[in-house]
Symmetry: C2
Subunit: 355 residues, 2 copies
């Protein structure tokens, strides 16, 4: 898997770094902001999933390159706008897009600090908007790189449905969950949010790979649907596992400090289950432990104890394990190939990692 992943990442890096779409964006600092996240590199798991899904069904994986690049840029614009919404200042240790643009605005123009912050954010809104256009353009260019025009149109429509509408709906539900009282939140709502925010773009990746391989315009075709289900299950399994490791692991996989979900009182399935299933005394203790600026080892131990004794931790692990197994079982209905093995390896890597 690793070799294939590296090869795909290198292809995507190369394509995006040399692409002409952003070249005429002005001012220069906005053009740099448009390129920033897309050329930061990374594992490029979404492009790989798209390319492998195409290969799994016997397709020409070269035809999957532009859609794979499109998915990566699409993912990046959602991160740019998410970072504004979440008011995040760093992403994997590097300043976020709006923070960088605020710095440039502060340096270039005579503005009050408030105005510099606001204008930096405004430019970042536009940077994300431009990246959405860039992603669409990359996808449509598939028609010049081995994907029939009818299939390209169908891919474009599926991108709007899944990666735009369903993903943003998931993001909006996540924003709402962050401002609602936890007592009214159900774990079912969180699963619905995750299916959109995490699952929809992964689903687009596998469905697109399948549609390219089969030269299919209808995403309701059986193989396409099954690979879409695989992606949503694997994505939610990964997210549940991530929530677990955010409490029980050593470091959060996203580079956030352990316990950051607790600090933000983030509604995870495990937290909502623990509040529902714990004793009244533990429930109160857990609520009292939310929203702190920092967590001592003793406080983390207490949270872990409540998560364990309530049964929420075991339920979370059982659910992520079951979803991962269902995802693998879907893959096993397809003929064995190096692509199928890569996808199985990816599921195992995402679920079994311990940080």
């Amino acid at each position: 898997m690793i070799d294939s992943l590296r090869k795909i990442a290198a292809d995507i890096d190369n394509l995006l770094a040399n692409d002409t779409f952003p070249a005429t964006v002005e001012p220069a600092y906005l053009r740099e902001a448009v390129l920033d996240y897309p050329i930061r590199g990374g594992k490029r798991l979404r492009p790989a999933l798209l390319v492998w899904s195409c290969g799994l069904l016997g397709g020409d994986t070269d035809a999957a390159l532009y859609p794979a690049a499109a998915v990566e840029v699409f993912h990046n614009w959602t991160l740019v706008h998410d970072d504004i919404i979440d008011q995040d200042t760093t992403r994997r240790g590097v300043p976020t897009c709006h923070v960088k643009l605020t710095g440039q605005t502060r340096a270039n123009f005579a503005l009050s600090e408030d105005n510099a912050v606001r204008t930096g954010r405004d430019f970042a809104i536009l940077a994300g908007d431009l990246q959405q256009g860039w992603a669409n353009d990359l996808l449509l260019r598939s028609a010049q790189h081995g994907v029939p025009a009818e299939v390209t149109v169908a891919l474009g429509r599926n991108l709007q449905k899944l990666a735009n509408r369903d993903l943003i709906t998931g993001e909006a539900l996540d924003v709402e969950l962050s401002i609602r009282d936890l007592s009214g939140v159900t774990s079912e709502e969180i699963r619905r949010m995750l299916a959109g925010k995490t699952g929809a773009l992964l689903r687009f990746c596998t469905e697109a790979g399948a549609m390219i391989a089969l030269k299919e315009t209808d995403p309701a075709r059986d193989e396409v649907v099954r690979l879409g289900e695989f992606a949503v299950k694997a994505g939610i399994a990964f997210q549940l596992r991530d929530d677990y490791l955010g409490i029980f692991g050593n470091f959060d996989s996203l580079g956030k400090p352990l316990g950051s979900d607790l600090r933000e009182s983030k509604a995870t399935v495990m937290l909502i289950d623990a509040l529902r299933m714990a004793t009244a005394a533990d429930r109160d203790r857990l609520l009292g432990l939310l929203g702190r600026a920092e967590y001592s080892p003793a406080e983390m131990s207490e949270v872990r104890r409540i998560m364990r004794e309530s049964g929420a931790a075991a339920a979370n692990e059982a659910e992520s394990g079951a979803l991962a197994e269902q995802a693998r079982n879907i893959l096993r209905t397809f003929p064995d190939s190096v692509y199928r093995q890569n996808m199985l390896d990816l599921v195992n890597y995402l679920i079994n990692r311990e940080r």
Copy 2:
């Protein structure tokens, strides 16, 4: 022209009000926000321009309906994000998208006022993001409504190039002009900003109409290029005329009070020309008159006198008149038809209106 405009507006109103794309957006207030601007109605000048350009070249105007609807929704998402950036609270007398969403956030959730404002704005960012996806989906659906798939792909790419990249570049230049010292701004920079912010989407409309009529995938084809030039010239002529009427008219056509450009120290071609061409004393007087909260009739008279005596007003009127005439002359190179007449009438209506 008016009857055709009414017919097109009714078709667009009907299509957008009943479209299924936004139907599964959640939460409900976000779905309403996505629909809000698109179903507020309006003249639908951009869709008309697209439909008429198609008719002008002998195309089936029914095939232009989905692209025309796409253009309207595309225009609306740029307004939603512009209103955030400009901190506008009303649009033609009705609360802007982010203001409405702030009101709903305030009513639905227990948040501080600061947090309600921020969250309302965050939801409005997402509403605009969703509308960009909706616009793309509408455009791609042309392939099911009389536009060949290859042409649909070409339209989609032209939308990203003109309506996304060039338009947003114009918007970003406008943001930059609003925070720069006026003394360093040239009128050429403003024309470049206008070509993007106002011209690019109009250019997409006429080019798309032409490409549909000719079943053409190459926007470099002569008729397509000429109609694109027509649109940019007409758009800049309109904007210059609008700037003039914002000082010399009775009411601003956008429903803003007379002198609002002065209040915002907005860099218009006429203002920059006046600052360059006026006597030193008048230049200082004009600079002293910028950025006030209100303008008395005497102050407006003084501004008008300086605009006139400097020659800036006459230069502005000459330029908008010349551009409008060039636009009309381009139209006259096409065979006479009801569509050509509608487009000539539109230019005359936009340029000759006195408010």
